[in-house]
């Protein structure tokens, strides 16, 4: 099921765009207001509620000891899951995750994994036998657009608050999860040759191409994904990647670095 948007609304957004404007007065590169509330869920090892404009995403982290993967016997394990529950949007349906939900979870996972944000070697308990398993569960509460950036932000914010629950499993004292990098995902839609960052749900439904760029603290790129049935020129890609780096830096400095 797709988001339905009236032709007149589409025209309105398009005409604004021609004047260089967006319906909520932002510039093409502006993000909506961001807020992060941490540790709302005391049963979880870490959690964060991210509000990006009216979009709301809750990320919870649970940890437990378990077996490592055979090819990485001395490293902790990250498992990321996303639930697009039907309470969050008229277009979400109950049931097993569809490809949108799977893509979202895999992109959040890619950011955390490829940036090497979590020191997985430090999460080995008994080499080859027992390591910490980190479950990152993304719960979308309200989809008003760009839930990917919100989810990714929620995941790293939650990881930064996570305490390893060692005492619960008789493995010594609890300690903060070792986090070494802060990956930030930034998404832009391409519409009529303009790149619009942090699209709201109306903007998402008029565009058919999205590009997400995930950057690390040193300004490098650790993940990228084009999504949607449109095309991008190499120059558009370069432009979006440039701006994405700047936006990510702003967000990282403002919300995640103490």
């Amino acid at each position: 099921m797709t988001n339905v948007i009236s032709e007149i609304r589409k025209d309105f957004l398009y005409n604004l765009l021609l004047k260089g404007e967006r319906s909520d007065g932002r510039s093409f590169e502006d993000y909506r207001e961001i807020s992060i509330e941490r540790n709302l869920i005391s049963k979880a090892e870490g959690s964060a509620l991210v509000k990006l404009g009216k979009s709301q995403v809750l990320v919870g982290i649970k940890m437990q000891p378990g077996e490592p993967f055979q090819d990485s016997p001395n490293r902790g394990v990250i498992i990321t899951n996303a639930e697009l529950v039907p309470l969050a949007s008229p277009t979400f349906e109950p049931g097993p995750p569809n490809e949108t939900g799977i893509e979202l979870a895999r992109l959040v996972d890619r950011g955390v994994r490829e940036s090497k944000a979590v020191d997985l070697e430090a999460l080995c308990i008994v080499p080859g036998k027992q390591v910490w398993i980190i479950f990152i569960d993304v719960h979308i509460l309200d989809d008003c657009g760009n839930i990917l950036d919100a989810s990714s932000l929620g995941a790293i914010a939650a990881l930064l608050t996570t305490k390893v629950p060692a005492s619960k499993f008789g493995l010594g004292d609890d300690y903060p999860l070792p986090v070494k990098d802060i990956p930030i995902a930034t998404t832009a839609i391409e519409f009529s040759d303009v790149a619009m960052f942090d699209p709201d749900s109306d903007e998402e439904s008029i565009a058919n191409t999205k590009l997400t760029v995930i950057t690390t603290a040193d300004g490098s790129i650790c993940g990228m994904q084009k999504s949607g049935t449109g095309v991008l020129s190499p120059d558009q890609v370069y432009r979006i990647v440039d701006i994405a780096g700047e936006k990510a830096k702003e967000i990282r400095e403002k919300f995640l670095e103490a």
Binding site: D71, S72, E99, T100, I102, E103, A105, R106, R110, R113, E114, S115, L211, T216, G219, S220, I221, C222, G223, M224, Q225, K226, S227, G228, T229, G230, V231, L232, S233, P234, V237, Y238, V241, D242, G245
Partner: protein, 253 residues
Amino acid sequence: MDESNISFFDKEGRRLDGRRVDELRPLKIEVGVLARADGSCYIEMGGNKVIAAVYGPREVHPRHLQEVTRAIVRYRYNMASFSVEERKRPGPDRRSYELSKVSREALEPVILTSYFPRSVIDVFVEVLQADAGTRTAGINAASVALADAGIPMRSMITSCAAGKVGDQIVLDPMKEEDNFGQADMPIAMTPSGEITLLQMDGHLSQDQFHQAMELAIKGCRDIYNLQRKSLIDRYNQLENVEAEPVEEVKACD
């Protein structure tokens, strides 16, 4: 896992399989390899062996998926359980769902779906042997199979990856380079340079990203030439065999 212990280049700067950094693996494309499918293609890209079939335009089942103004496109990327070192559990997993989605989105921009309202164009891709770059091989094969099926398209789609190993950007990474490398970036594009797929994981500086894009685009252009040639060869061959009956039909009117 330990990337520092592996040397990816010999003294002359050649890679583990003797390639230069900007060289593709050996490529082979065969058109029309399946009898039942409307279009098909078999591709070998290095150690990858991938087969693609296209069915349609045909009726959509289940019916509620129909679109009134255009055909829908479905893409199923599937790996054979014997295609990888450790047996893969058969059936779709989360990775193949994602790859199916981005691959479909890589092809859809060029397919003229509005010609076939209420119908479906099915693309099935089976990975028979995997050696890094299966999604790019799948897209290359699918694009040829679509052309072979006579599906109207604005252009072909070609796909190729660039990667980073030992701090060096390389074209078309093979398994060892993918497993122990520092980045992997598959792209797909039209011959005129419109990007229809772009994914990346690993670690690339801004400069390395630009290098990787340029290299991958170059790789795509080379692959495109072979896609084109394999289609032309196939249809030249068919024309020679069936030339006479066509002449006779013309003589009737």
